[in-house]
């Protein structure tokens, strides 16, 4: 048996998914067709039931019920595990073929009992030729449509020459039977119409499909190149970090006070070396973090308590004595035990970066206020400070890679320009967002302050 898979298929699962979607769409569409058919039946009855053949009345109702019932069965089948995404099994392509065969048969019966070439329904064959071409391989559609054309033509010829009975709808057409030449001309143009439809739609569909596949492949290539790039950066930075770690370790040793004979001049230089080496270590760590986030395909998500983690990070900062003069307040209106589904390590890094910034860019005896609340299905964390603030024209750039604000540079506040970038990357990786606002509302004229707002979806 032919496997129905077009020759230019590259990703079979993608094809099956696409056809499955279209299959369920056709099932819905068919219910509409059934309703319209019933409507047509009643309109005909209303116009003049006495002009109907009894076969017509019975036939239309029969077609109506059979379409309705097989559509019901098809929708049940499509919901079950009967259809498998497997070339040899009963797959979505075969399911599509089954549907089109059922539809063409019903339509043929309907067309026959409503007058064949005089029936208003026979044009629907063109519709099926197009639909079929959208899904099935060209050869299959040509075969189906040639069978339809042959049956349709033969039925027309047989009725024309009185070999079988015909059922024209006399209320819709005064023409009882067509002139022979006219009939053949009509049939010929119908043949052409169907075959050309199949040809064009098939050609366009396969060209479109090929383009789509090429696009998907191109995107995949870009993604894997990006991941390779990040891996390369990580490897290089790690290689740089190893000797740096050794240098810092030796500097730590020299500065630990276990050696006598290091005079103050030498010590001063060693302290400077240590300072610069520590900065370099911070930079390597920041780059490693950014690359790691970018390279990660999936986060290790778990249930975390945002309030508790934020509290811990502030406590840790206090323990280190980095921010003795800063007053911290945490407010939360989250219900007790509200959890956030996030990667704990990266969430900690995010909060820690934001709070470190709020401290680093603050004034002496400054304030840091943390507000945690839920809004529109998001958990919002707002960190406001009474620090130097960010000029309006820099707000949108502050989370760009390696961007450092003029104010920070002119005040000689050090940084890698990766802190807020890391925060944005982490927030976005979680499907959230970052917003930076200044002034914060808790600063003053000289220190307008900054508010950083992170929104993360609360529920998956």
């Amino acid at each position: 048996m032919i496997n129905l898979i077009p020759l230019n298929t590259r990703d079979i699962n993608y094809l099956f998914e696409l056809v499955s979607q279209r299959n369920s769409w056709f099932i819905k569409l068919r219910y509409i067709a059934v309703i319209l058919l019933l409507g047509f039946y009643f309109i005909l009855l209303f116009i003049g039931s006495e002009e109907f053949f009894p076969e017509q009345k019975l036939g239309i109702l029969l077609v109506f019920f059979s379409i309705f019932i097989y559509n019901l069965l098809l929708s049940i089948i499509s919901g079950k595990d009967v259809i498998k995404n497997d070339v040899s099994a009963f797959n979505p392509m075969k399911f599509a073929l089954l549907q089109i065969i059922l539809d063409l048969s019903s339509l043929m019966i309907l067309v026959y009992i409503t007058g064949l070439i005089n029936s208003p329904f026979y044009l629907f064959f063109i519709f099926h030729a197009i639909i079929g071409s959208l899904i099935l391989p060209g050869s299959v559609v040509y075969l189906l449509m040639v069978i339809v054309l042959l049956v349709f033509s033969l039925l027309n010829i047989f009725t024309h020459f009185g070999l079988i009975s015909e059922f024209p709808i006399s209320v819709l057409s005064s023409i009882k039977s067509l002139d022979t030449y006219y009939l053949f001309l009509n049939l010929l143009s119908f043949w052409l119409m169907i075959l050309l439809s199949v040809m064009f739609v098939n050609y366009l569909t396969s060209a479109l499909y090929r383009r789509e596949q090429e696009l998907i492949e191109a995107i995949q290539k870009i993604e894997s190149a990006e991941s390779e790039k990040q891996k390369y950066i990580m490897a290089v930075v790690h290689e740089v970090k190893s000797p740096l770690s050794v240098i810092v370790s030796y500097l730590n040793l020299l500065l630990s006070g276990i050696y006598e004979g290091i005079n103050d001049n030498v010590k001063e230089i060693l302290v400077k070396m240590k300072k610069r080496s520590d900065d370099a270590i911070v930079l390597t760590n920041d780059i490693l973090n950014v690359s790691r986030i970018r390279q990660l395909k999936e986060l290790k998500k778990e249930n975390i308590d945002p309030l508790q983690i934020t509290g811990n990070i502030i406590e840790n900062l206090k323990d280190k004595g980095i921010n003795e003069n800063i007053t911290f307040t945490i407010k939360s209106n989250l219900p007790e035990g509200t959890r956030l589904i996030a990667d704990k390590h990266f969430f900690e890094l995010l909060i820690s970066n934001v709070i470190s910034n709020a401290v680093k860019f603050n004034q002496k005896n400054g304030k840091v206020e943390v507000m945690i609340f839920s809004e529109d299905g998001n958990i919002c964390i707002q960190v406001s400070d009474s620090g130097i603030g960010i000029p309006q024209d820099e707000l949108s750039k502050i989370s760009d890679e390696f961007y450092r604000s003029r104010e920070a540079k002119s005040r000689g506040i050090e940084g890698t320009g990766l802190g807020m970038h890391t925060v944005r990357q982490i927030a976005e990786k979680h499907g959230g967002s970052l917003k930076v606002m200044s002034p914060s509302g808790i600063g003053n004229k000289d220190f307008p302050g900054t508010t950083v707002e992170i929104r993360l979806p609360a529920i998956e």
Partner: protein
């Protein structure tokens, strides 16, 4: 009185040396090993009170295999993972259930941070 014994396993001999000199000055007996294959042998003969080890040696998670082996030999020996791959890279390992280490310190650490950890796990005294 016996000095408390520290084993350092790291593929970088300079890291071992810097740490060894510092810890020895602080009154510990320290031995180091750069080859993962010899680390267990040394652990058995030296019988350290605490081990400090890197996670990324010749193979990415070699350090973790060593950690597991050490914990099998002596479950009560505290282990400190001391690695420059930091949490950014080492997170995959660091979050898995197989980690048996007591602590995880980013390399390079302030020597006083390490000293505090040694005090924490070895009870303050440098001597048995």
């Amino acid at each position: 009185m016996m000095k408390k014994k520290i084993l350092i396993i790291d593929d970088d001999s300079d890291i071992i040396e810097a740490l060894k000199l510092f810890l020895e000055a602080k009154g510990y007996e320290v031995k180091g090993e750069t080859k993962p294959s010899k680390a267990i042998e040394l652990f058995n003969s030296f019988k350290p009170d605490l081990a400090i080890l890197d996670v990324m040696m010749d193979e990415p998670d070699e350090g973790f295999f060593i950690a597991q082996k050490i914990k099998k030999i002596n479950p009560s020996c505290p282990l400190i993972i001391y690695s420059s791959i930091s949490k950014a890279l080492g997170y995959d390992f660091a979050k898995s259930e197989v980690i048996v280490a007591e602590d995880f310190v980013d390399k390079p650490a302030d020597p006083n941070v390490l000293l505090d950890l040694l005090n924490k796990y070895l009870g303050g005294s440098n001597y048995d």
